[in-house]
C-alpha cells in the first residue's frame, strides 16, 4: 500500500539552527515525491519536487531509495519558515497524490 509517514507532528528549532523534516514512504514502484508548505491561514502550495533536484527558499530534499526517505533540509532556519509542511507521494495508476499527516515547524527567534 502507498503510504507517507511524517513521524514528527511538531518540530521546534531556534533561528539559525539546521532543520530536517522527516518523510518516509512505502511504495513498491518508482516513487515521485513532493514537499508542500502551508503558511498560516494560507492555502497549500508546492515547495519542491524531487524530480527537479532544486533548492527553494534554501530547502533541499534528496530521495534515498535505500532508506525510502525524502527528508526536507535547510541549513539555517528563518522565522518565516514557520509553517505546516506536507510530504506527498505520486503513485502510479488512477490514484491521487498521497499526503503525509504533516509536520508543523516552529522557528523560535
Amino acid at each position: 500500500a502507498q503510504r507517507v509517514t511524517q513521524p514528527e507532528k511538531l518540530l521546534s528549532v531556534f533561528k539559525g539552527a539546521p532543520v530536517e523534516l522527516k518523510c518516509n514512504y512505502s511504495y513498491s514502484g518508482s516513487p515521485e515525491l513532493f514537499w508542500y508548505v502551508q503558511y498560516s491561514r494560507q492555502r497549500l502550495q508546492l515547495l519542491l519536487r524531487h524530480i527537479s533536484r532544486e533548492s527553494i527558499k534554501g530547502f533541499t530534499a534528496d530521495l534515498n531509495k535505500g532508506e525510502t526517505s525524502f527528508h526536507l533540509k535547510k541549513p539555517f532556519a528563518q522565522e518565516e519558515d514557520s509553517a505546516m509542511y506536507y510530504c506527498a507521494l505520486g503513485p502510479s495508476g488512477n490514484t491521487p497524490l498521497v499526503f503525509g499527516k504533516g509536520t508543523r515547524l516552529s522557528v523560535i527567534a
Binding site: Q6, E32, F34, Y36, Q42, R43, L44, Q45, L46, R49, I51, S52, M84, Y86, A88, G90, S92, G93, N94, P96, L97, F99, G100, K101, G102, R104
Partner: protein, 117 residues
Amino acid sequence: NAGVTQTPKFRILKIGQSMTLQCTQDMNHNYMYWYRQDPGMGLKLIYYSVGAGITDKGEVPNGYNVSRSTTEDFPLRLELAAPSQTSVYFCASTLRLGDRWGNTEAFFGQGTRLTVV
C-alpha cells in the same frame, strides 16, 4: 487566472442541515480532490475524481457526496451535518498526463471553514 476557487469561505451549519461546498478550477485539470483538515491535524482525503464523470472515495468519505459533471466543477455535498464535520475543507486539482507525475503541481483552493453547531 483564478486557479482553484472555493465558496463559501466560512459557514456555520446547524446539526442536521445540508450544504454544498463549491469548487471550480479554470486550468483544465483532470484530477480534482476534496480534503478536510481538522485543527492541528493533517490532510485527510474525502473524495477525488480523475476526470469528468468519474469519482472515487478517499480515506474519510462517510457523510459526504460528490459529483463531477464537468471538468471545471467538483462540488462536495454534506447531508445531515454533524459536529464531527467541523473542519476546514480544501479542494485541489492537478493535471496529470500519462502515468508519471513529473512536473505535476497540485493547486489548492483557499479553504472553507465549516462549523457545525
